[in-house]
Symmetry: C2
Subunit: 322 residues, 2 copies
């Protein structure tokens, strides 16, 4: 059994069980992958993949279990590499983080500035994406950890560390009916439901905080447009496509470009931003530091507890609200 063979089968499930695609992703040849998979199956004495003719269609029971174990093994190998790098050069390395536009643009800058000062020789990589893309990156080992606001459902088998809570704001043109309502009685979900909305792509499905707030009142929001970027959302609100619903921390209180941001923290319950880590992974020392800079209550012990499987006791209601 070779580590390569394990890499191949794990990569296979991440590439729709397509040998050609897998080979391309791993910068090797199709026959090589095919052959190594057969070699592993021969050695284990079990078929790992169900084949229809020459097409690989699914994992066998054995395949399911073996791929799972192989992932653990490969993560262990990665951990060994990480430990090596850490003890060779504690302050030199890379840190790859997957996150959303809002985090990258409005929350992370001061954290990263402070981090850069402490670790000038660590090369930072910020990968942006939707929660499902972020989950993909994390599962594929492309990033060290993720900072995610919604879509916890995507992060099965990962350690979720609550960082802070955040509330929403409603973006409307100056003089919009909701603007006046906001000054008088305050905005309500019912009032919002009467207008087309412009919001985050990932914030509008049924499991999201936003989606649930409407569903609870038997309302179905009309989403005119969804984007992952506040600036894009602003643009379309200005164009009159609808009312923007965004993270409050992403907008100023003062009007800009004829748009005003109305505090909607009383309308929608706050969402929680999490740091997401693959269970069992090893982290660089500076990663712990980054995490604690981002969320002061997440010290090394707390993170280690989450990594080793136990859900740490964090009082979500005591988290800072932004």
């Amino acid at each position: 059994m070779k580590l390569q063979q394990l890499r191949y089968i794990v990569a296979m499930v991440r590439h729709d069980l397509n040998v050609s695609q897998t080979a391309e992703a791993l910068f090797t040849s199709q026959p090589g992958v095919s052959k190594q998979i057969r070699a592993l199956e021969d050695e284990l004495g079990v078929e790992l993949f169900n084949r229809r003719g020459k097409q690989i269609v699914s994992l066998t029971d054995a395949g399911e279990r073996v791929v799972e174990l192989a992932s653990d093994v490969l993560q262990g190998v990665e951990s060994i590499r990480t430990v090596g790098r850490e003890l060779a050069n504690p302050n030199v390395g890379e840190l790859a983080i997957a996150t959303t536009h809002t985090q990258a643009r409005y929350v992370l800058p001061p954290v990263i500035a402070q981090f850069r000062e402490a670790y000038p020789h660590v090369s930072l990589q910020l990968h942006q994406g939707t929660p499902s893309q972020i989950a993909e990156m994390l599962a594929g080992g492309d990033v060290d950890f993720a900072i995610s606001t919604e879509g916890q459902a995507h992060f099965e088998d990962m350690a979720l560390l609550p960082c802070y809570r955040w509330s929403r704001a409603v973006l409307v043109p100056d003089g919009h009916p909701l603007h006046r309502l906001h000054r008088l009685d305050g905005i309500t979900v019912e009032a919002l439901a009467q207008y087309p909305l412009v919001s985050y792509t990932f914030g509008v499905d049924a499991q999201s905080t936003l989606g649930k707030a409407f569903a609870e009142r038997g309302l179905k929001p009309h989403i005119a447009l969804s984007a992952s970027d506040v600036e894009v959302i602003r643009t379309y609100v200005k164009l009159g496509l609808g009312v923007g619903v965004v993270a409050r921390l992403a907008v100023d209180d003062s009007p800009r470009d004829g748009l005003v941001a109305l505090d909607a923290s009383a309308v929608f319950p706050p969402s929680t931003t999490h740091i997401v880590l693959p269970r069992g992974a090893a982290l660089r020392g500076y990663s712990y530091d980054f995490i604690q800079t981002f969320a002061a209550h997440l010290d090394r012990d707390c993170v280690d507890a989450a990594l080793s499987g136990g859900q740490p006791t964090i009082d979500v209601d005591a988290l800072p609200l932004r």
Copy 2:
């Protein structure tokens, strides 16, 4: 990084950091081991072993952590093999158990008879040894699990599953003063302390149940001889070397060879026999069956819970007493 390299460094710590000895144990050449270790150190960029001149004297901090992770990785690889074998031939394979003489001779026979009938194509291997030897076998991956009565201290980082409790008997020549005492007031620790004892090698250290029973009363037993085998102990009691203290289940109630066994369950608190498993390992289906045949309350879920780290809730006081 190659799996071989991980095997080499893990084997190194099991062989006193001696390259020659390690190479011999792995049926390969010293230079091969030496070179692969250097290759791994080069790849990781850290020395794993502290060398004084050309002598390897200890593990570095990095080495400590890497060896630990490497063990996990290798165990994962073993698990993959196990899963393969299981799904290829559920009823064919090997089962290696490490245990003490008493278990092998007096407790296991009916279990093994039943197991053999259910799984005639499983080759059983019974490895005997002292608790520390048993722990060594388990840590080295030489056996699938252990059945141990004492010396829990040896089994750091292992999953311990209580199976049953057992009490002791005192072996004396017919007509011995303790024989009469037993019929009148009953034996006491104090009475026993007046005679030289013959008992199990591993049962006489300070942490053992036996040792503690004496220590609690401020007594120090005089151990004339210790052996791992009841038949050996009988022999020396017959020779008049001292009074035997053995597991009750290892002796008949009726006299034999001029020796009588006196129930000492009221004198010493019962000991508990455990099945010991390496955390995180994968077991063959028939192994689960063997375990449950041995201790009916240890079903598959219970064993899996212990393997995955959680200590299962087993009421020790409710276990059968033998």
